[in-house]
């Protein structure tokens, strides 16, 4: 038989080889082609070509400029001639009646110095803007005839927009808008306004040296109190929100571990001889895991209302499924000999578990818990945005206003810092608590040295 086979072998071998090559070619060209086709489909399905039209560049500009700068509004109510000054135009950032920053001098004629020669004067009747290199723009808002503007001779430049009821000038130094009811100047500054002290605090505008001096003379408590209760940046609320988010992650992860551990024993083949019960337990884990954390969050938010507890429970329930699966697999891989050894010394069942089983699965258990603690910090941010708790809620609120982008940037920075800190902490704890992980780490580190020797 084999001889006959060998006779045919050359042709068959050739045929086999070319078949194999054909298959390889098909795979190597077909797979990328398939991926490319899919990406093209997605490109069309997501309407990527239309993306540029939908993209809002003005929004992008506001977002970027707002994250590193702020503006102070000086506005004059043209009906009762009152002038108010407020940072970002917000009430919490308003200067007290009669108070003003140095570049604004209040009086019969309010003079606003925008620096580099730019100056705006709010007169009793007329608003004047000195623009170096262009001239003086005068505008008189009247009730009956709208805004009457006088511009220097020549063509109107593109940065001035003029209509019957509105004059708007946008220069490097600032922005002036005059309408029938209101004349308003924006001046832009770099930085985050009032980050430490709001205007109503006696410590606003003091230098670091002066602050330290005051702190040394016994006002440290008051200074910290003013920072802590800052209404503009709400440091107190932000600190609480971060604490809530971390709390959600901690309670959810540890709670899930505590719930999943006993259940995992029920799902492990070597600890639970009852097949049907094992099957039920496993399906329960699968079900809990399959019902996404989004659904759990929605369901639990109905029962418990918004807040950190709901978030913690949502994480707890979802992760119970995952932990149950991982722990039961770890339990099935437990070495029987250690349990036998403990049994041989006359240990009772409880002691057998305590000294024979638990020490074996502790590394898996701890490393999974710590790993999930880190990833759940991220989940808690997301769940917080849905249920309304923690830093996720603050972030969504700040984004919804569509103007506090400096706060959004601040929160994003805090979130990234928080997650990276948890990542580092969980890695550090893993290395400290689990010796195996430390060994792996050192081996990974020795690699580059070895690679260096080779050439």
């Amino acid at each position: 038989m084999t001889v006959i086979d060998a006779d045919f072998s050359l042709a068959t071998l050739k045929q086999d080889m070319s078949d194999l090559f054909f298959k390889k070619k098909l795979f190597n060209f077909g797979l990328p082609a398939l991926l490319l086709a899919y990406l093209t489909y997605v490109f069309i399905a997501f309407d990527m070509p239309g993306l540029w039209d939908r993209a809002n560049l003005a929004n992008a500009r506001t977002l970027v400029s707002d994250t590193y700068s702020y503006k102070t509004h000086v506005s004059r109510d043209n009906r009762d001639a009152s002038v108010s000054i407020a940072i970002e135009g917000e009430r919490k950032g308003a200067y007290p009646e009669g108070g003003s920053p140095q570049w604004v001098s209040l009086g019969e004629v309010t003079v606003i110095d925008l620096e580099e020669g730019h100056q705006v004067r709010f007169g009793p009747e007329t608003v004047e803007y000195d623009i170096p290199g262009y001239g003086v723009v005068r505008a008189t808002p009247t009730r009956s005839k709208g805004v009457q503007a006088e511009l220097p001779a020549g063509e109107i430049p593109s940065w001035i927009s003029l209509s019957k009821n509105r004059l708007a000038i946008k220069t490097e130094a600032g922005r002036l808008t005059v309408t029938r009811n209101r004349s308003e100047v924006f001046r832009y500054f770099t930085g985050w306004e009032l980050f430490f002290f709001t205007l109503d605090s006696p410590y606003h505008g003091l230098g670091l040296g002066e602050l330290l001096e005051k702190a040394a003379s016994g006002e440290a408590g008051a200074i910290l109190q003013d920072i802590w209760t800052n209404k503009m940046w709400r440091h107190q609320d932000v600190a609480w929100a971060i604490a809530e988010t971390l709390l959600m992650a901690f309670l959810g992860t540890i709670g899930a571990g505590l719930v999943a551990l006993p259940l995992a024993f029920l799902a492990a083949r070597n600890f639970n001889p009852l097949g049907p019960l094992r099957f039920v337990m496993r399906r329960v884990f699968d079900f809990v895991r399959g019902v996404d954390s989004l659904i759990w969050t929605v369901v639990l938010a109905r029962a418990f209302g918004p807040g950190p507890l709901t978030g913690a429970l949502a994480i707890l329930v979802t992760d119970t499924g995952t932990f149950g699966k991982i722990f039961s697999e770890a339990l099935e891989n437990v070495d029987e000999k250690q349990i036998e050894g403990v049994t041989a010394t006359g240990a009772k069942p409880a002691q057998r578990y305590r000294f024979g089983v638990i020490p074996q699965i502790t590394p898996v258990l701890l490393s999974q818990l710590l790993y999930f603690l880190e990833s759940n910090t991220r989940s808690a941010t997301i769940i917080g945005a849905i249920t309304g708790g923690g830093i996720g809620l603050l972030l969504t609120q700040a984004i919804i206003t569509q103007k506090d982008w400096e706060e959004v940037a601040y929160y994003i920075g805090l979130i990234i810092f928080m997650v990276m800190l948890m990542d580092w902490l969980s890695g550090w704890l893993r290395r400290r608590l689990i010796k195996g992980e430390a060994g792996r780490k050192s081996r990974a580190e020795s690699k580059p040295g070895k690679a260096f020797l080779l050439p």
Binding site: N56, A60, G255, D292, I382
Partner: protein, 293 residues
């Protein structure tokens, strides 16, 4: 040292020392446990206090909502197939977001990992930089980028895709670089000796070694990304999450729609879970048999 200079210990002393050690260990263990329990209880109390509804009240109502939904869904069981068909396109969109994000994430994750692995990076000095980049990408929750991008690009699947892709690139960058560390550098050196470029060295020398592991991690990531894309839909990025939010805000009378969406999402997640588990098993198994021959 101490053993050599000190007089030999009597059994009595050894026993005393041992029991003292055990006592101290137990004391520390006990203290840690007490601290831990206190932390859990205090944490729970705080969370309970800051929540809108309390745990005690809520726990009795946990199943109210699912029961209502199920009751209404079973009443209108005949409409269920129509709902399933109606929401299927939204499900496809969610899946597309996840798949496209995974693909893009794999490409960037691969680049990041190759640039951050010793022996493979073209410029070893920049390795810490690329590690930090992938750390930062990994640390940003998807929702953060998605919400900002929705403001810039308008609602729809693209912001969600970009957001998930960034996170995926960071997460896979880390996992892939761990895989890379275990890859042999010999093929790379061989290719280098015949004068190949960096791209060729990576594509022909490294990728074939790490491919199966990459695909296995990418599949795992795909599962996670489906969940993420459903959640992002809930905050306005389209797909099944958006439909769920709408169906829920209609409230009673439309619970059958919510039930249909729950069902679709559940089936999809379980199906993808099983499928990718199977595929990953085959990949790892295939890789092993390949190594043996």
């Amino acid at each position: 040292m101490a053993d050599m200079t000190a007089a030999p210990l009597s059994t009595e002393q050894i026993r005393d020392q041992y029991s003292e050690m055990v006592h101290r260990k137990r004391l520390y263990g006990g203290l840690l446990l007490v601290l831990f329990v206190a932390l859990m209880v205090a944490g729970f109390k705080t969370a309970d206090g800051r929540n809108a509804g309390s745990f005690g009240e809520g726990i009795t109502h946990v199943f109210d909502y699912p029961a209502e939904v199920l009751a209404e869904a079973s009443e209108k069981l005949s409409e269920m197939p129509a709902h399933l068909v109606h929401f299927f396109p939204a499900l496809i969109e969610t899946l597309n977001i996840a798949a496209a994000a995974t693909l893009v994430g794999v490409v960037f994750g691969t680049l990041l990992s190759l640039l951050a692995t010793h022996g493979m990076a073209p410029s070893p000095a920049l390795i810490p930089l690329f590690r930090r980049i992938s750390d930062i990408c990994r640390a940003i929750p998807e929702i953060v980028i998605a919400l900002v991008l929705i403001f810039l690009l308008g609602g729809g699947p693209v912001p969600a895709m970009i957001a998930i892709a960034i996170h995926t690139a960071g997460a896979l960058g880390k996992l892939f670089s761990e895989v890379n560390e275990n890859a042999s550098l010999k093929p790379v050196e061989g290719l280098e000796s015949v004068g190949s470029s960096w791209g060729q060295r990576m594509w022909l020398g490294v990728i074939p070694q790490v491919g199966p592991n990459y695909v296995s991690y990418a599949l795992l990531r795909f599962e996670i990304n489906i969940r993420a894309s459903a959640i992002l839909g809930f905050v306005g990025a389209g797909g099944i999450g958006y439909e769920l939010k709408n169906a829920m805000s209609w409230g009673q009378g439309r619970y059958d729609e919510a039930a249909a969406i729950f069902l679709l999402l559940f089936i999809t997640i379980v199906a993808v879970d099983q499928l990718s588990g199977l595929l990953r098993d085959r990949l790892i198994h295939g890789a092993k048999s390949g190594a043996n021959t």
